[in-house]
Amino acid sequence: MAGTVIPFGPQHPVLPEPLHLNLKIEDEIVISATPAFGYVHRGLEKLADIRDFRQMIQVVERVCGICSMIHALTYCQGLESLMGVEPPPRARFLRVIWSELHRLHSHLLWLGLFADAMGFESLFMQLWKVRERIMDMNEATAGNRVILSVNVIGGVRRDLDPGQTGWILSELAEVEKGIKAMGRTILHDYTVQKRTRGKGVLSREQALELGCVGPMLRSCGVAQDMRLLGYAAYGELDFAPVVERDGDCYARCRVRFAELGQSIDLIRQSIGKLPAGDISVPVKGRPEGEIVARAEQPRGECLYYIKANGGKFLDRLRIRTPTFANIPALTVMLPGIELADVPVVLLSIDPCVSCTER
C-alpha cells in the first residue's frame, strides 16, 4: 500500500488553535496534505441579524484575538463610506498608531511561536518579553491589552495626551533595542537557517494563483500591501512594502521581522504628524447600500462585505480573513517536505484559525 495517512491536529503542541491536517506520508516525506476546519466556528457573521450595526463593532473585534483593532477598523471604514462620514484627521492618525501597535505585537507573537516550533525556546521567551511592553502600551492608551475597542463609526473613542505619546516613543525605543538584540539570532543563526531555508517554497506564480495575501505574498516577490490604498492616514505616511524573493519559510520570517521596524517607524511618523482637533464626528442615520472594505492586517488583506438596507440591522456581513486566503498554499508547500518540518511550514503562514472560521 502506498502511503500512510497521519492526522496532524486538531490538538497538536505546535498549534495554538485547532486546525486539522490529513497528511499522506511515504517514508517520512509528505505526499499530500488536506486541511480540515470547523472546530472553532462561532457564527459571528450571523450575529448581524440580532445586533444592531453599532453593536457589531464589538462583535467583529472578537473575530480575532490578535488583530482585533484592524477588524473593527475595516468594519467602521466600510460603514463610514456607506454613510458618507469622514473621520477627523486626528482620528485617522490615531487609528494608524493603534493598527501598527497591533501589527507589532502580532508579529512578535508569531516570531515567538515560530521559534518555539523550531524548538528554540529561549528566543521565544525573549521575543515575548519584548512584546509585553507593547501590550502595556495598548492597555495604558486604549484600556485593554488585546481587544482595544477604540473604533467607532466616525472616529475613535480615546485620545492620546502629550504625556502618553512621549511615553509611547520612549517605550518604542526600548522595544527597538530588544528587537535589534534578537535580530542577529533570527536572521543569521545556524539553527534558524537550518530549519527554515528552502523549506515550504512557494513561487510567485503559485502564490498569485492560490490567492495568498500579506507577508505570504510579499515573501514571494509581490509588493502587495493594502496600506498602499491610503486608508486611515497611511496615504500621508512614508513607507514601502517589505518584499523578499525566495518564497521559503526564511523569507517569510525576514518579511515579518523587517515589518517590525517598519511599524515602529510608522508609529513615530504618525506621532510626529499627529494633528490637533476632534477625535470623532457625530454620526446620524443608518447605513444603506453595499460595500467592500479592505485593510491590511498583520497576516494580510482582510475583506469585509457589508450590505445594509437602511434599517437597524445589517442585511449581510461577510468577512474574508487573511488566513482563509493563505491556507490553500499549504496544499502546495507541504508535499515534498519531511514530517518533522511540517510544524515549521504550517506556522510560517501565521495561521489564525479563529479568524478563518469566524
Binding site: S122, A140, N144, S149, R157, D189
Partner: protein, 122 residues
C-alpha cells in the same frame, strides 16, 4: 545558538523579568477598562445602557426599579459608560476579581420623580 549566548548570559546575571504575581501585583493603568459600577443615586433607569450593550448583559426594569448586570457576560467595552446620560455608570481600572460562584449584580434604584427619566427615554 552563538548569537544567543550574550543574551542568555545577561539574563543569568540580571533581575528576574517576571513578577511574583500574588505577592506583588502589577500597577494598574489609569485608563484600563475594569469593573463596571453603577451609582444608584444618579441612575434614572432610562435603559440606554441596556439598549447599547453589545453583549446584552444589562437589564433595566423600570417597573420594579431594578438595574441588573451580569459580570460574566460583560465584555468590558465601556460602551454603556459612554452612553449613560447621567454619568451614573463608571469603570474602575481594577479588573473583575475571580469568584467562587457566578452571581449577577442587582441594584435597587429609586427614581425620585418620573420627569427626569422620561426626558432621557427618547
Amino acid at each position: 545558538m552563538v548569537f544567543m549566548i550574550p543574551v542568555v548570559l545577561k539574563n543569568l546575571f540580571s533581575r528576574c523579568a517576571t513578577r511574583p504575581y500574588p505577592q506583588s501585583p502589577r500597577k494598574l493603568f489609569a485608563g484600563s477598562r475594569g469593573q463596571l459600577v453603577n451609582d444608584a443615586g444618579k441612575c434614572i433607569l432610562c435603559g440606554t445602557c441596556a439598549r447599547t450593550c453589545p453583549s446584552q448583559c444589562l437589564t433595566v426594569s423600570r417597573k420594579e426599579g431594578l438595574w441588573q448586570y451580569e459580570p460574566f457576560a460583560c465584555v468590558f467595552c465601556g460602551v454603556c459608560v459612554e452612553a449613560c446620560p447621567t454619568g451614573s455608570l463608571s469603570q474602575l481600572s481594577q479588573w473583575r476579581p475571580a469568584v467562587r460562584e457566578r452571581e449577577s449584580v442587582v441594584l435597587k434604584v429609586e427614581v425620585k420623580s418620573g420627569e427626569e427619566g422620561k426626558r432621557h427615554r427618547a
